[in-house]
Every structure is written in C-alpha cells, then in structure tokens.
C-alpha cells in the first residue's frame, strides 16, 4: 500500500481516533498532519511492518504525549473551555449524562484520557495499550484507575468495570 493509498483509505478513521484521544478536534488535526508529514518520507520502511497503521497510531499517541503538545493543548483548552470549577458542577449535573462525561473526559490529563480512550473506545486490552504507549501494564492500570476515579468523583458516576 502506498502512502497515498493509506491516506486515501485511512485518514478519516485516523482523524476520528486522534480526536477521541486528544479530546480536541483541532489538536487532533494538527497532530495527524504532523505525524503523516513525518511518516511520508519513511513510508517504505513503515510499510514493511505487518500493520503500518499501528505504527502511525503509535506516532500519534507519542505526539499527543509530547511536552510541546501538552502545553499547546492546555493553552487551547483554557482558552476554549475553562476547567471545571466547583460552582459549575451544579450546572454540569443539569446537562445530559453524556455531555457531562464528554466534558470530564476532555479535562482529563492526556495520558489518562488516552488510556481510557484506548480501553473503552478502541476496545484494546491493557497489555496492548501498554505496548502502544511504551509503558508498563501497571502504569496503564494506575492511569485508568485515576481517570475513572475522577470521572466518578466529579460527576458522581457509578463505578465502571475496571478489570480487563
């Protein structure tokens, strides 16, 4: 598969995945574009891998976790959407449960959001998430646990099944 074929077929899905991981469509668009620019010149080597998309997705995750991106994303979030404050919680409880969840997910630290997205949206096993993120299984589980605790504590959500 050539790079052009890959982009033609997989770009919409990559953008959706990156948007879920980033919690921000504009950041996701920037990241996907930068990653594809980096991947294009070395596509011949990436293509030698069994699943080139997995490699590209790893690049997206790495890019989202980079210090530069974290700063940019935080600035963007602060401008576009102030962090949840105590006095706003009442209002948050009045909106639908999904909207509240969406807002809380966006406010999670990137590493926690990515773990939760990969686990629940991508339906990946924790071991695969660890491999993708280049960290240990214990790190994945602790990040997931912290993320779920935040979702529960802020939105008074019911516990979700954590064992995978």
């Amino acid at each position: 598969m050539t790079f052009e074929e890959f982009v033609a077929v997989r770009l919409p899905a990559l953008l959706r995945q990156a948007t879920a991981l980033a919690g921000d469509p504009h950041l996701a668009e920037d990241v996907v574009q930068d990653v594809l620019i980096k991947a294009q010149p070395r596509w011949a080597r990436i293509c030698e891998l069994d699943v080139p998309e997995r490699y590209v997705r790893k690049m997206i995750v790495n890019e989202l976790l980079s210090a530069r991106r974290r700063v940019a994303a935080a600035i963007r979030r602060e401008r576009a959407q102030p962090p949840v404050r105590e006095q706003e919680q009442d209002r948050a409880e009045q909106v639908t449960q999904r909207d509240a969840l969406v807002r809380l997910i966006r406010a999670l630290p990137p590493r926690q959001r990515i773990v939760i997205a990969l686990r629940y949206y991508e339906d990946m096993a924790d071991g695969d998430i660890a491999a993708l993120m280049g960290c240990s299984l214990a790190t994945v589980r602790s990040q997931a646990s912290r993320a779920l605790a935040k979702l529960r504590s802020v939105a008074e959500l019911q516990p979700v099944q954590e064992e995978r």
Partner: protein
C-alpha cells in the same frame, strides 16, 4: 448508570467532532509536489537525501517556510572547506529572498552548491552551481534554449506540479541549473526561468563548510554528503545528510534550537556522552545532545538491516560519530533574505 458503554458513547461523541480530512489531504498533496520537485535535482547518492526523513531534519528544512525573512543570529562563519559561490542571478522576481543553501561535499571537495530563494510559502527559485553524478537530472518536456549564446536545455514538468528547469554550461564554467517552482502557469514559469538564467553572473563571494565528520561507518565513509544551512524562527540550523548501505540515512541537525519540536521525552534514555548531557530515543535511533556553546545536536542513523543492539545503550556507531564530530564555527547567516 455509567458503564463502559456510556464511556464509549462519550468518546464516540468526541470523535464525531473530527475535522474533515480535506485540509490535511490538500496540505500533503502540496507538500509532496514541492518535495518531488526539489528531489529532482537534490537527490544524492541514489537514495534521496531530500526524501529520506528517517530524517526529521529533512522534514524540518523542507517544511512549509514562514513568510518573511528574520534577522538570524548566526556566527562568524568559516570552516574547514572554503566554497566559492562562483555565480549568482542578477535578477529575481519581486519578493524573493534567500532562505537556504546546500553544499554537496565529496571528500575534501564541494562540487555542488545550491542557493535557494523563496517568496511566501509556495514559490521558490534555485540556482545549482556544479554537478555530481549522484544527482538526478530533471525530466519532462524539453526544448533547447539560448543563454547568452550557449545552448541550454529547458525542462518543464507537470506530473509533480509545475516546475521549470534551465540547464546550461558557460564556457569554462560549471554546469548551472535554474529551477523555478511556483504556482504560475507553465508559460509564465518558463519566462521566469529563462530570465533568471540569462541574468546569472559570476560571483566572487564564497561560503564555507563548517562541520566535519571525523568518523563514519564503512558504508557511509567516502560517500557524498550534503550540508544544508537554513533557519527556524530566528535561529540558524544546519543539517548534514548522507546515504549508506541499504539506503540507510544519516541525519545530523545542529543549531541553537535544533531540538525544538523534535524532542519527545516519553521513551528516551538520559545519556552522558563525551562530557555532554542528552538523551537517546531507541525507537527512532535519535541521539539528542547539547554542546558546551549551547548548540543542540540531533544525530539519527538508521540501523543496518539485521543489526542487533544492546537495550538501554546508545549504539556505538552513534557514539563514535559524535565523538569524532567537529561541529565547526557558528555559520554566517547574513545572507538570509538577501537577493
């Protein structure tokens, strides 16, 4: 009741906000077109320095440039190899300024110099002075043209975007190539390329190759390599690139901000090398170091196929390249933005 389905639905709602892919598609198509055009004349040693971006550095120097020309804080210039420029165009269309220089180095000679001007983000004009067999000649619709009484060759390509190349060789001089890459119609592009070519005059100025590679693995030693000088923001940046066995790529980036935008600390090992602190990214085989004078260095070298490496250690060949590197003086950058 919140369960995994509710979380999945929430992520699905976020994913539904994804941007249309069209902007990225258009951006990649434009980049690819410009990239292919440059590659036609700047490819070195059969594998494409301009393509090979195991080369984040290549990506850096060929990414869409900013508009305008900054005051770049360079240095005194100089180096181990003096390179006469020999020629320059006396005419360029309005708005163009020089933004990059490239030198092909073979042993202790520099047979090729390429000077690059740009206007805005989509138009560039290059003058390549000299030739080396490792370069690739442009191909396309060809006609014979006259450049001050010398027969030249004008090539226009459309398959990778509009580009016009004029190649000729003044009596007793090196081969010269003017390349025009812009969005103009082929007729205008042809006229611009010819006018620039016919304006080319001798130039007594010179430039230098500052950095020197004291050691390279066998497959890279003796091969031609390319030094590119440019800038990012207001800081200079130099890149050395070369191609070795199996088309593996060597990239060495140097500059006060060379690590900017490239450093990813998520999967790196801190290292101390030759008294310098830095880190190593095993996945990409990139070594990041900061020199005593504040210059940041990024060295990337593809592994040889089948090569095994000690986990948690910088590959010895990278260590040896860095230890033998003479990074030279800070380059003179006063030419940035000039005609």
């Amino acid at each position: 009741m919140i369960d995994s389905e509710a979380i999945r639905a929430a992520f699905g709602a976020i994913a539904d906000e994804a941007q249309s892919p069209e902007r990225i598609r258009a951006g990649l198509a434009t980049r690819a077109r410009h990239h292919r055009q440059r590659r036609l004349v700047l490819r070195v040693a059969g594998a494409g320095v301009a393509v090979g971006a195991a080369g984040v550095g290549v990506w850096r120097l060929t990414r869409e440039p900013e508009t305008g020309f900054p005051e770049v804080a360079g240095g005194p210039g100089g180096g181990w190899l003096k390179v006469p420029l020999r020629y320059r165009p006396a005419w360029l269309p309005g708005g163009y300024g020089q933004y990059q220089r490239s030198i092909v180095v073979v042993g202790d000679r520099a047979p090729v110099v390429s000077l690059d001007w740009r206007r805005g983000t989509d138009a560039s004009i290059s003058l390549m002075i000299g030739w080396h067999d490792s370069l690739v000649r442009p191909e396309g619709r060809t006609e014979t043209v006259d450049v001050h009484g010398v027969a030249g060759r004008l090539v226009q390509t459309e398959s990778s975007g509009n580009a016009a190349y004029v190649t000729w060789q003044p009596p007793g001089g090196p081969q010269l190539i003017v390349a025009v890459l812009d969005e103009d119609a082929p007729g205008e592009q042809r006229a611009t390329a010819l006018r620039v070519a016919r304006s080319v005059r001798p130039d007594q100025r010179e430039t230098y190759v500052g950095p020197r590679l004291g050691w390279l693995p066998d497959d890279l030693a003796g091969r031609p390599w390319r030094l590119s000088q440019g800038y990012q923001g207001q800081q200079w940046i130099q890149e050395i690139s070369a191609t070795g066995a199996g088309e593996r790529q060597l990239h060495l980036l140097m500059g006060p901000d060379a690590h900017k935008d490239l450093a990813d600390h998520t999967t790196v090992l801190p290292v101390q090398l030759d008294g310098l602190a830095g880190w190593y990214a095993p996945d990409s085989r990139h070594l990041f170091l900061t020199l005593d004078d504040g210059v940041q260095v990024l060295l990337g070298l593809d592994a040889v196929d089948g090569q095994t490496e000690e986990p948690g250690q910088v590959p010895p060949e990278l260590t040896r390249i860095i230890e033998a590197l003479d990074h030279g003086p800070w380059p003179d950058m006063t030419w940035v933005g000039s005609r």
